[in-house]
């Protein structure tokens, strides 16, 4: 049963000049208690797209106002990660890198990984941060974690520019495979949003979720082919490995941009499937718990 539906009702209204009747379209909101699962109400979110834009814009602006190295942080984070990996994994441990220079290998993975890691971390606490607004105004709450994830796009673009620079430096040109790039970016967003929705909803009720996230992300990084290629994994295990949706995202991103040998196959298919599952389940769980956010946050 729906909590509130916006229907359009035609209401007869007396027009001016006596006798004329004009029908005006009036939105009706029906407020009822909800039980069980609630629908996703995507139309509601679409109606509030401008708010999503403003919240994202606000997150971005605030992140960089009054910071000295503000924009540089977007590049520093993946860069420093890449440096550490290059020294220890690429240098010390001599991890293979699919026939492209290791720094480029690691950095490309870190760029897309940073989008996921930051997105998930910001999203997990986003509802609590926005608590005051949530208690005072109505809007579809999903907009809040969505905006915290979307605001990571600016960081991504900045880091991406450096990535292009590195490609030029190493003389690696993109092939026609680059047409697949937007698809893998979309997959990254789907994965980040799926996990983000789950974590943000859970965090409202269990405030310690937010503290578990950094550990979760750290462990996840090691389980994802950022510092090492997935080609290290043999045969059937590769499919199991694909259950980590970020495995598909990172490998696919690298493959489309840098043209590495590792062709996408069953692993990426499994990753994509898991990502979509996470998004759908996350969205439904979010909607189910959304009704008590204003009371509990």
């Amino acid at each position: 049963m729906e909590n509130s539906e916006e229907n359009i009702e035609s209401r007869q209204e007396a027009g001016p000049g006596g006798g004329e009747v004009a029908a005006a379209e009036v939105p009706v909101t029906r407020i009822r208690p909800t039980r069980g699962w609630a629908s996703l109400k995507l139309r509601d979110i679409w109606a509030y797209r401008e708010l999503l834009y403003f919240l994202t814009w606000r997150d971005i602006k605030v992140r960089y106002k009054q910071t000295v190295i503000g924009a540089a942080w977007a590049i520093l984070q993946p860069l420093i990660g890449m440096l550490i990996f290059t020294i220890f994994f690429g240098g010390l441990l001599n991890v293979p890198s699919d026939d492209i220079p290791y720094p480029l290998f690691a950095y490309s993975g870190m760029v897309i990984w940073a989008f996921f890691a930051n997105g998930v971390t910001f999203a997990s606490n986003s509802l609590v941060v926005e608590a005051n607004t949530i208690k005072k105004v109505y809007f579809p709450r999903m907009v809040v974690p969505m905006s915290s994830i979307l605001s990571g796009f600016v960081d991504f673009v900045l880091a991406f520019i450096l990535l292009i620079g590195m490609m030029v430096y190493y003389g690696i040109a993109p092939t026609v495979q680059v047409l697949w790039l937007p698809l893998f970016l979309l997959l990254a967003v789907i994965t980040t949003l799926g996990i983000g929705l789950w974590l943000s909803a859970l965090n409202v009720m269990y405030r310690d979720v937010r503290y578990a996230v950094p550990f979760l992300v750290q462990a996840w990084l090691l389980a994802t082919p950022v510092a090492y290629p997935s080609s290290l994994i043999e045969g059937a295990w590769k499919v199991v490995y694909g259950i980590n949706p970020m495995a598909g995202v990172v490998e696919g991103f690298r493959w489309s941009l840098l043209g590495v040998e590792t062709r996408p196959g069953p692993m990426i298919a499994v990753s994509a499937g898991v990502a979509i599952l996470l998004l759908l389940s996350g969205a439904f769980y979010f909607r189910r718990t959304e009704r008590i956010f204003a009371d509990v946050v």
Partner: protein, 427 residues
């Protein structure tokens, strides 16, 4: 022709609150619980149950059996003490929180002002915050563009509009916040006590703007503690008490009843000389007070809570067979019931001096509302009036019992008589 703007039926909202542990737990119980509870919590969590994280055992009904209608263009005032449920009602109508039971329908776009400046960020400039706050309140960008200049002029912050808000004085912030809110133009507007902002000059400006809004054909629900504002802006009023509607009617009556419920803050009333309408000089009732079921002096009694009325009187001269009486009246002066202390066989009072106390215990059958108690005494044999104080003390019967239950909304009236229905037989 449907000109309904808001229709609320039996709305109820229950909140969980922390309570005391019910029983003493053994250590074994505590350990067993310690093992079981993470699983129980996990299962509740997976089922998406609220409050899974907190140990909230008790619950209260912030709203119960609330029903009313608002026509298009009406301005309805909602008054009541803090904690009566006014803000909760607005939150439910604004879809911020869900009702636990009942239904509400709203025709038209809803704009709700529960707080001004929602979403304001100190790092952003005034201009940026206007757009942000406007978007949060539900305005489209095009709409904000259109009204931007007027908003800034109304707030009087044009010079500082491009400075980060953290440099604004609190007065400036609040003026800008209110200015944005004032230009919100939905069909239905829900306002929660946001008029008390800024200095007197600005308050007046806000008030005039609200007036404009109210008479502009918009439907408004206005919650406030400012009785003057409520009286002048609203045509109808609802007095909410403990989550229930205690009174619904024209705004002046609602305000009067609400205020009168406060009037006997000094519940133990010393009767002034001039209040004795009949004063024989032989017997004088000096004090009247109301005691609740726990013997505390009060002027507010729960529905169905038994209470007693105590009187302290003094005999100043020779009195023979005096009967002390009291009467329960409506605020309009209608006598509901009268009783004398001799009704059940207690001896009449005779004497020539001394102080006395009389106590009358009530089995409370009064419906929620405001009542006025009159006291007096007369000589039983001659009928001569000894003392009479009409309106000695006010009694407020609250909308719900101590257990939180209220009367059946279908049973209107002043009192609940003891009525037994026989079975409904087919003829």
């Amino acid at each position: 022709m449907n000109d309904m703007a808001i229709k609320v039926e039996n709305l109820g909202k229950q909140y969980r609150i922390g309570g005391q542990q019910a029983r003493y737990k053994t250590l074994r119980d505590t350990i067993a619980d310690g093992f079981k509870s993470p699983f129980r919590r996990m299962s509740r969590l997976v089922h998406g149950e609220a409050y899974a994280g907190a140990d909230l055992h008790e619950s209260i009904w912030a709203l119960k059996d609330v029903s009313f209608e608002v026509r298009q263009g009406e301005v309805l005032g909602i008054i009541g003490r803090n904690g009566a449920g006014k803000t909760t009602l607005l939150k439910v109508l604004s879809r911020i929180t869900e009702p636990t039971e009942g239904a509400a329908d709203v025709w038209g776009r809803v704009g709700s002002l529960l707080e001004v400046g929602v979403g304001f960020h100190p790092e952003l400039t005034g201009r940026e915050n206007v757009y942000l706050n406007g978007a949060i309140l539900g305005m489209r960008k095009a709409e904000i563009d259109r009204k931007y200049d007027e908003i800034v002029i109304f707030a009087g912050v044009k010079r500082f509009i491009d400075t980060p808000m953290k440099h604004y004085s609190s007065g400036m912030q609040v003026r800008l916040a209110f200015a944005i809110a004032a230009y919100l133009e939905p069909e239905v507007l829900l306002i929660d006590e946001v008029l008390a902002v800024g200095d007197i000059g600005f308050q007046r400006k806000c008030f005039n703007k609200m007036d404009e809004v109210a008479y502009g054909g918009r439907t408004v629900i206005f919650v406030s503690h400012n009785m003057e504002a409520v009286r002048s802006l609203c045509s109808r009023g609802i007095w909410l008490e403990d989550g229930r509607i205690t009174y619904e009617g024209d705004i002046s009556s609602a305000i009067k009843m609400y205020l009168e419920s406060y009037s006997s803050m000094e519940a133990k009333v010393n009767i002034a000389e001039e209040d004795h309408v009949v004063d024989s000089g032989l017997l004088r009732i000096n004090k009247v007070f109301i005691l609740d079921s726990e013997g505390r002096v009060t002027s507010r009694i729960h529905y169905r809570e038994d209470f007693s009325v105590g009187m302290e009187l003094e005999m100043l001269g020779k009195v023979e067979s005096a009967r002390i009486g009291l009467g329960v009246n409506t605020p309009g002066g209608q006598r509901i019931s009268t009783a004398h202390h001799t009704d059940a066989g207690v001896a009449a009072l005779s004497g020539s001096s001394g102080k006395y106390r009389a106590t009358a215990s009530f089995k409370n059958r009064l419906m929620p509302g405001l009542y006025i108690i009159s006291v007096g005494a007369h000589e039983g044999l001659s009928g001569k009036g000894l003392d009479y104080v009409p309106g000695a003390v006010d009694l407020s019967v609250l909308g719900s019992s101590k257990e939180g239950e209220g009367p059946d909304p279908a049973n209107q009236g002043l009192v609940e008589m003891s009525i037994d229905w026989t079975e409904v037989e087919k003829l």
